[in-house]
Symmetry: C2
Subunit: 203 residues, 2 copies
């Protein structure tokens, strides 16, 4: 199909598709004339994926390019791909000194690669709470840890066997489901708070 | 204290403090001369809070101003404050038609105010997954729902009795703990994936 049809079917404007092509997020089409290229269903799929990563996924162009690189790279095994994907989208570089995160990890009983970026992310998040003078009660932190374990276990149990599918599942499942989890948590708040603080019910 | 000391103790540059004052995020000091104002510990606390909301909390100036307005307003009861805070930081306006969210909420068995913003947030997140051709397996969605319920229940159980403290706890607890929950989930992934996909261990 030509770029105009690709635009119509993906609902992404032609100028935006050209931008993605220039940025290397979408592979070039097959040239059929010096100024005309043909695209196929793989381009359409990729375009939808790019739009999801940049939109609801909230990634920058550079982060999306790195994530797509991980998905496309046949060299990675699944575990290495997960690590590479985490690095690509990490808000914080790895740090040597993460005392707040270390204390939470010790409580969770998790063995975490000290060279990974996640403890630094947790440390930054906890430091932000300290700055605001906000303390997470112990029972709440325990609930967060147990909830994270249950989510990760359910996600891992459903991971596809096929290597390429597993990588796609792991990378997209991490990035794109974050807004789902946060929205569900706010909904659960509303549900729970209505019971406790809401107008008196029949009960 | 003068603005220079406020800057030193908060580690926020003087120019940034002046910006927050102009934007109404921090209350003016007491004028002691035509060009000199005095600040106290309440200004220092507020400055730390603003920095946390704009930094780790990831809010815009407008969102932070709205959240601070909710915290400062003595008219709100706790439930109304929670709702107002959610509206202030919502990425999406309420929508009439949220079919994907409605299906998940029916499965969860939650009674949600249809005029609230949260179903629209969930709908947008789920639409993003559809765009990317990514489906959350049923068992995983169930794990998300149960995890959200457990988190909300633990947080509500620890809410302070005092009205002003409860509002601060609810509003800041929602915004500032989101990065903590997401970081813990990624750490739990690493912990679980190392077991399943990692290099062979002694076991």
């Amino acid at each position: 199909m030509r770029i105009s049809e690709l635009s119509r079917r993906s609902r992404v404007p032609v100028a935006t598709i050209k931008y993605y092509l220039r940025e290397g997020l979408v592979a070039p089409g097959t040239l059929t004339a010096s100024t005309q290229a043909q695209y196929d269903e793989t381009h359409l799929d990729r375009l939808r994926l790019v739009r999801a990563l940049l939109g609801p996924g909230g990634l920058s162009i550079a982060q999306a390019r790195a994530i797509l690189g991980v998905i496309d790279d046949p060299q990675h095994d699944t575990f290495a791909a997960l690590g590479a994907a985490q690095h690509a989208i990490a808000a914080a570089p790895p740090q040597e000194d993460t005392p707040r995160a270390a204390s939470v990890l010790a409580r969770a009983g998790w063995q975490i690669d000290p060279a990974s970026t996640e403890p630094a992310q947790l440390e930054a998040a906890l430091a932000g709470l300290d700055d605001a003078g906000f303390e997470i009660p112990d029972a709440v932190m325990t609930a967060y840890i147990r909830a994270a374990e249950q989510i990760a276990a359910a996600e891992l149990a459903e991971a596809p066997e096929d290597r390429a599918a597993a990588i796609r599942y792991a990378v997209l499942g991490t990035v794109l489901t974050e807004p789902v989890i946060l929205a569900l948590r706010r909904l659960a708040h509303q549900q729970a708070a209505a019971r406790r603080f809401g107008p008196a019910s029949d009960a």
